[in-house]
């Protein structure tokens, strides 16, 4: 029950993980490998080889020295035949050669071991008369049916171990064959050892595999173990999984053997079944022992599963919390953060992305990133698209949902997951910053132009005044009459007035730049009429007829002071530059809302107009086109242009058959902000 629950928890946890991974794949960290494990297994292999050589040498010596009292005291020791001892020494040497990189020696030694193993293994089939049994030594004791002969299980194990080492020496890397063969040997040895263990516990004979002595089994287990696990990570196998599988397999093997034994006992045909003096088969206590062992193992498993489930639950909780923190961070970030796959499909997008691109988050998912940022992905025809996606911060163009293009800073990082590659992008909308930069550049250029022009235009009247005062002094020195002096003084006065006007204009211009005004509702007709009334008698010498054709109901939403500057300059220009040859000067002002919702304001006159080719400089600073008509500063239309642009509109000049027309277009009724720029 508890196990099943744990499984459920486990699966639920997995579901949660995959879901959140899909949404927030940022915190996926690749598991790092532990290289120290390989070194440990290397040492274990050397130790096993040493053990094998030690045991082999000891047993070989015992056989050679023919120590009878040891054989009497511990007959089980001599179950390991002399040939087995020799084979273990050879195997140990082969192992050391293998681990120290002497692959040629390892090959030769393991081939010898295989040969010996095969020779003894094939003897019962070939009936060669046991030539090898007594080749090296004539056993002084008979401890097996054929003295000196390797039991078939032992011989087979040597063959398998030999093949393992041969394969390793030849390929130089962990192979599945090596692992499987070594695991087989390990299981056989482990089952034998377990059998001996049970034999000690249950005080009964371990019937079937008594031929392999416990120290032989130990040596096999020691040799096989490193051959199973050495560098196994390189094949992406988990050592713990293999160990668990080995344990389970050994246990099943043991269980199977016992059952076979039991079956043989029931059928009464088993050749190895021995009957105890009590009359019970030997398998019964072993089976009982196995049952106890199974019970203990099962209890441990339950406890383990329960602990695991608890740990998993707390890990899942931590993971969820960490992901929530992460997602909160990502969603509150001012920069847009997205993840895309290698083909450019958007997998996730944070809240800032919605603000930047004006799409809803759901609408962005699954969309091709190129519809938002065309330059993020390389062109389809490029050879290696993956290499070019990741980038250091750079400036590219983005497209909002409305189709408006804007500049953005983009940096892309590559995220390598186990099965796939993702890219995470950080996006910053820099349109505002760019606009400010542009504004600063423009303001700077304008300031430079202004400084240049003022060096001419502000100094010019002063230079004239200096000249005129010099002339007056000269005239006084010549005792010229007052009638000659008066016009010079008049000129001086006019020059200074002009300077005053210029300074007034400059102040107005600067003021218009700094003016921080809010938008108000203005009845246009009355605003125009008020300006006309104020300027009507500007030129007392001339009669001007005004026509104002603006519906009284036309209310615009704009900045009042700037509108006044525009109207003042346009209407006073129309009066100033009237054609003296015309009988009456006419000035017409009309306005209407156009189809696209913009306000169009027209100021027309029948004045001097503009010579062809002069339009280019019309709205520039300090440009004057009718020097004889008026002492303009050359700033009026520049002020008009700047004010209109500030309101987000445009100004245009239209040449009439007779006179000029200026057309002001201001953006749709409610919007006087320069949003149209971006």
């Amino acid at each position: 029950m508890a196990h099943a629950q744990a499984m459920e928890e486990h699966q639920a946890g997995r579901r949660a993980t995959t879901q959140s991974e899909r949404r927030y794949p940022w915190n996926v960290v690749r598991e790092s490998r532990k290289p120290t494990l390989g070194i440990t297994w290397h040492k274990a292999g050397l130790a096993a080889a040493m053990l094998s050589i030690l045991v082999g040498t000891c047993m070989g010596s015992l056989w050679l020295l023919k120590v009878g009292f040891v054989a009497d005291a511990l007959p089980i020791l001599f179950r390991m035949q002399f040939n087995t001892a020799v084979s273990f020494v050879l195997s140990g040497c082969a192992m050391i050669a293998l681990l120290t990189g002497a692959s040629r020696s390892a090959t030769a030694l393991s081939l010898t071991v295989i040969f010996i193993g095969l020779a003894f293994l094939l003897e019962p089939i070939l009936h060669a008369g046991h030539p090898l049994d007594r080749l090296l030594l004539d056993p002084f004791r008979q401890t097996a049916p054929y003295p000196g002969h390797l039991a078939s299980g032992t011989a087979l194990s040597f063959v398998l171990i030999g093949v393992c080492m041969l394969v390793s020496a030849v390929t130089g890397k962990p192979t599945l064959l090596r692992i499987v063969l070594a695991a087989t040997v390990l299981m056989t040895a482990a089952a034998t050892l377990l059998g001996y263990g049970l034999q000690v516990i249950t005080e009964s004979n371990w019937p079937r595999y008594g031929h392999m002595s416990p120290h032989t089994a130990l040596c096999f287990a020691a040799l096989a173990l490193p051959l199973v696990f050495l560098r196994v990570e390189e094949r992406d196998y988990h050592a713990s999984t293999i160990a668990a599988m080995l344990g389970a397999a050994s246990y099943l093997l043991l269980l199977g053997l016992t059952l076979l034994d039991l079956q043989d006992a029931f059928e009464g045909t088993g050749p190895t079944v021995s009957i105890d003096p009590d009359g019970k088969t030997a398998s019964q206590p072993i089976l009982a022992g196995l049952l106890v062992v199974s019970g203990i193992v099962y209890a441990f498993l339950i406890v383990y599963a329960f602990r695991n489930a608890q740990r998993y639950r707390s890990m899942a909780l931590q993971l969820r919390e960490s992901q929530e923190r992460m997602s909160a961070l990502i969603d509150t970030a001012a920069d847009g953060i997205i993840t895309i796959d290698a083909r450019g499909t958007i997998l996730s997008a944070n809240h800032a992305m919605e603000t930047i691109f004006r799409y809803r988050s759901e609408d962005m998912l699954g969309r091709d990133i190129r519809t938002l940022i065309p330059e993020l992905m390389p062109q389809a025809d490029k050879d290696d698209p993956e290499a070019q996606i990741a980038c250091a911060p750079r400036e590219v163009e983005g497209i909002r949902r409305t189709g408006i293009r804007f500049p953005l800073d983009l940096s892309v990082a590559r995220i390598e997951l186990d099965s796939t590659v993702l890219y995470s992008g950080i996006i910053r909308d820099i349109s505002e910053r760019k606009q400010h930069e542009q504004d600063i550049l423009e303001a700077n250029a304008e300031l430079e132009e202004f400084a240049y022009r003022t060096s001419h235009d502000l100094r010019a009247p002063i230079a004239s005044s200096i000249g005129l005062t010099a002339i007056m002094r000269d005239m006084i020195g010549l005792q010229a009459p007052g009638t000659q002096l008066a016009p010079v003084i008049e000129r001086l006065e006019r020059g200074l007035q002009k300077l005053d006007g210029l300074i007034e204009n400059i102040i107005q211009l600067k003021r218009s730049r700094l003016l921080d005004e809010s938008v108000t509702s203005i009845p246009l007709a009355s605003a125009v009429k008020e300006t006309v009334e104020r300027l009507r008698f500007m030129d007392p010498a001339r009669q001007v007829s005004f026509v104002v054709d603006i519906p009284e109901t036309l209310i615009i939403h704009t900045k009042q002071e700037r509108l006044r500057m525009i109207l003042d300059n346009l209407i006073s220009n129309a009066i100033k530059y009237a054609d003296p040859h015309e009988e009456t000067s006419k000035v017409a002002v009309d306005a209407a809302i156009t189809d696209d919702g913009w306000l169009e304001l027209r100021v027309s006159d029948n004045g001097l107009g503009l010579e062809e080719g002069d339009e280019a400089g019309l709205f520039q600073m300090f440009k004057r086109f009718h020097p004889y008509r008026s002492d303009g500063s050359g700033l009026g239309l520049y002020i008009v242009k700047k004010s209109v642009e500030h309101l987000g509109g445009t100004v245009a000049y239209i040449r009439l058959d007779k006179g000029s027309r200026f057309v002001i277009r201001l953006p749709g009724g409610n919007d006087a902000w320069p949003s149209a720029h971006s």
Binding site: H456, R459, A463, P627
Partner: protein, 132 residues
């Protein structure tokens, strides 16, 4: 040798008055022709041939630099006989303006307003040097 005739190109009437008065006090025999901008100056030059041109920079319609460009192209070709030399007379202090004007080899000097008799003496010397 004295200056025979001068063309003054300047849009400011007061500056023309100052020039006229100063020249008249310097040498009443000098013939003075006036033009209010570069374009008018070019028209005058098609009929008259003054010894020198006194040129302002900042003028409507065609400014001093635009005049110099056209003058260099249309009048001061090497194949032609020597053309009237030019001196600048302006209120600009800027070194860049001075440099830009003096890059034409027919522009001989750069005076700052107002025009003085010292300027006219220097001009007379320049004209003398050019004749020899």
């Amino acid at each position: 040798m004295a200056i025979g005739s001068l063309l003054i190109i300047d849009d400011d009437e007061t500056d023309l008055f100052i020039c006229g008065y100063t020249i008249q006090r310097f040498d009443p025999d000098i013939k003075v022709v006036q033009a209010l901008n570069g374009r008018e100056g070019l028209e005058v030059l098609r009929q008259e041939r003054p010894d020198a041109i006194i040129l302002d920079i900042n003028m409507p319609v065609m400014n001093g630099f635009e005049f110099l460009e056209t003058y260099a192209r249309d009048f001061a070709r090497p194949v032609d006989r020597p053309v009237p030399l030019v001196v600048m007379l302006t209120s600009s202090h800027l070194g860049s303006d001075r440099k830009k004007a003096l890059q034409y080899d027919f522009v001989k000097s750069y005076f700052e307003k107002p025009l003085t008799s010292d300027n006219l003496k220097a001009l007379a010397d320049i004209i003398d040097t050019a004749r020899h």
